[in-house]
Amino acid sequence: MTAQLSIASTATAATSIESEAPAVYQRRARWWTIRGELPRTTVWMLAGAGLVSPFILWWAYTALGLADPLFMPGPGAVLERLGRWWTSEGLLTDIGISVWRVMTGFGASALLALPLGLYIGTYRPVQAFLEPLTDFIRYMPAVAFIPLVMLWVGIDEGSKVLIIFIGTFFQMVLMVAEDVRRVPMTQIEAAQTMGASRSEIVKLVILPSARPAILDTLRITCGWAWTYLVVAELVAANSGLGYAILKAQRYMHTDKIFAGILLIGLIGLLTDQAFRWLSRRAFPWRQQA
C-alpha cells in the first residue's frame, strides 16, 4: 500500500517540477515555441489588440480623408447611425426577428440532426442507407433552394426558417455522426464486457462521450445558421438585420450597412463565447488533461 501511494506522490511531484522550470529558459522559449503556452493576461491583450487594430486602421483611413464618406463612412458616423437605428429605426425589432429566425431554424435542425447523426454514427445499416444521400444533398448549395422555397412556402417566416434549416441540417447530421464515430471503441467494449445492452451503451457511453464534440458541432453550425439567415433576409424578407442592410443599400446609407455587418459579427462572437462558456461549465473533466 505504501508503495502504491508513493507512486501517486511522485506523479504529482513530477508535474510540479515541470511548472517550476527555470524562469530564464521559460521566458526565452515562451513566445515562439511551437504550440507553446502564454500567460492569460498576454493572451487577452493580444486578442484585444487583434480585434481593435482593424478599427484603428479604419478610423485613421477615414479621418485622414482618404475615402469618400459616401462609400466608406468613419467609425464615428457608423456609431452615430447605430444610435439612431436604436432610438428611431427599430434596431431591437430587427435583432429580435433575426435572432428568432436563427433560433427556430437552427433549433429545428439540431432537433432532427442529433438523433439521426447518432444513429448514422452508431449503426452501420443506417449509415450505409443515409450517409451517401446526405452527402449528395449537402453539396447542393442551400442558396439555390431559395427560389424553390419561395415558390413553395412563400415569403413569410416559414421560408427564412426553412432556408436556415436546409443550410445547416445536412452538415450537422454528418458532423454529429462523425462525433459519435469518434467515441473510442475501447470505451464501448469495456461496457460490453460489463454486460451492457445496446441501448445502455448508447445512453451511458456513446452519448456522454460524444457530448463535448457535439456541442462543438452545434457551436460551429450556429455560425453557419447566421450566414444563411442573412442570405434569406437579403432575398426574401421585409424585416430583420439582413433586410435592413439591403434596404440601406438602396438609399446609399453606407453607414447603416457597416453597422449591420458589425452587429451581426458581434452577435456571432457573443453566441460563440456563450457556447464555449457552456462547454467549460458542462464538461469540467475536459480541461484538466
Binding site: 502504491q4 501517486a8 475501447t186 460489463m194 451492457a196 445502455e200 475536459r286
Partner: protein, 279 residues
C-alpha cells in the same frame, strides 16, 4: 470435463484483409483450470490478443468452440471482465463513478434484491478503491491521474461485478518499470483474494513468468500455441525471484523460442555494412 473453467477447443479464426484471407488462429486448444493465472506471450501477429478478445466475446471465431463452465461463449458477458491496453475509462465520470459504472446496468441491478445488497455493493466499491490505493482520489477525474493510477481504476472497475474470469490485454504495456512492479504484486494479490481465473496477454516475458502459473507461448503465421511452460515458482511471489536461476533459465528458454518462431532475426551482415559506412 468439469474441472476446466475455460475449455478452448480447436479454435480457428480467419479474417479478410485487402481481399486476402489471413489465418489469425489455427486449431488452438487449451484447458484453463479454475483460479489459474495463465499468461500468453509470443511474437507480434501470433494472435494472442485475438484469442483473448474471442474469449471476451468481442470477436467471433471461425472454427471450433470455447466453453465457459461447460457453456458455449456467445458474446460478451458479466462473468468475464476485461482490462484493456489503452485507457478505457470514462473521462466524464470521476474515479468512484467509473468503478461503480456497472451498477447502472440492468444485468447487474436485476441481481440486487434489497438495500442490503446495495450497501454491500457500495462497500465493495470502497474496498476496491482502497485496495488499489486510490482512497484519496475517489472524486478525481481520469485526466487528473497518472497512467498507472488510471489502469488501477480500470482494474477496480472490471472487478466490481465480481467476475469469475478476468481477461487482461497488455494492461501494463504503457507503464514505466517501477509502476509495473507495483501493479504485478497488486494483481497477484487480487488473484489470491478474489479467486479469479486470470488470462493475461503480454509481450514482456519477465512479466509473463512472474505473474503466471503457466506461460502459453504462441507463434505467428498462422497464430497457434507453440508450447506451454509450467512456472516453477511458489504461489507467493516476490520481486527477488526474478533473479533466481530457475526464473532466468525459463526466461532464456522462452525468449529463445519466441525468437525462433518469430521469423525475424537481426541481419548481422547488414549491421556490419552500416557500421562500416558510419565509420
Amino acid at each position: 470435463m468439469t474441472d476446466a473453467k475455460i475449455r478452448i477447443q480447436q479454435v480457428g479464426k480467419t479474417f479478410v484483409s485487402d481481399r486476402r484471407e489471413v489465418e489469425a488462429l489455427r486449431s488452438v486448444s487449451l484447458d484453463v483450470r479454475p483460479n489459474e493465472f495463465i499468461t500468453f506471450v509470443g511474437a507480434s501477429g501470433c494472435g494472442k490478443s485475438t484469442l483473448l478478445r474471442i474469449i471476451a466475446g468481442l470477436e467471433t471465431l471461425s472454427r471450433g468452440e470455447i466453453l465457459l463452465d461447460g457453456k458455449t461463449i456467445d458474446g460478451p458477458g458479466v462473468d468475464r471482465a476485461m482490462v484493456f491496453q489503452h485507457y478505457s475509462l470514462y473521462p466524464w465520470l470521476n474515479v468512484m463513478k467509473n468503478i461503480k459504472f456497472c451498477r447502472q446496468l440492468k444485468v447487474i441491478s436485476d441481481t440486487v434484491r434489497g438495500d442490503g445488497d446495495v450497501e454491500t455493493a457500495s462497500g465493495r466499491a470502497d474496498a476496491l478503491l482502497s485496495l488499489m490505493g486510490l482512497g484519496q482520489f475517489a472524486d478525481a477525474y481520469p485526466s487528473q491521474l497518472s497512467g498507472g493510477m488510471q489502469q488501477r481504476v480500470a482494474i477496480a472497475r472490471a472487478l466490481m461485478p465480481k467476475p469469475a474470469t478476468l481477461l487482461m490485454d497488455e494492461p501494463f504495456g504503457a507503464l514505466d518499470a517501477q509502476t509495473r512492479e507495483v501493479m504485478h504484486d497488486l494483481i497477484r494479490h487480487v488473484h489470491k483474494l478474489e479467486k479469479t481465473t486470470i488470462l493475461f496477454v503480454t509481450h514482456d516475458v519477465e512479466e509473463a513468468i512472474y505473474l503466471g502459473n503457466r506461460v502459453v507461448l504462441m507463434a505467428p503465421r498462422p497464430g497457434r500455441i507453440d508450447s506451454i511452460y509450467e512456472v516453477p515458482l511458489p504461489a507467493q511471489r516476490d520481486q527477488d525471484m526474478k533473479l533466481a536461476p530457475e526464473f532466468t533459465a525459463l526466461k532464456r528458454e522462452i525468449l529463445g523460442r519466441i525468437r525462433e518462431t518469430s521469423g525475424m532475426q537481426t541481419d548481422l551482415d547488414q549491421l556490419a555494412k552500416l557500421t562500416a559506412i558510419a565509420g
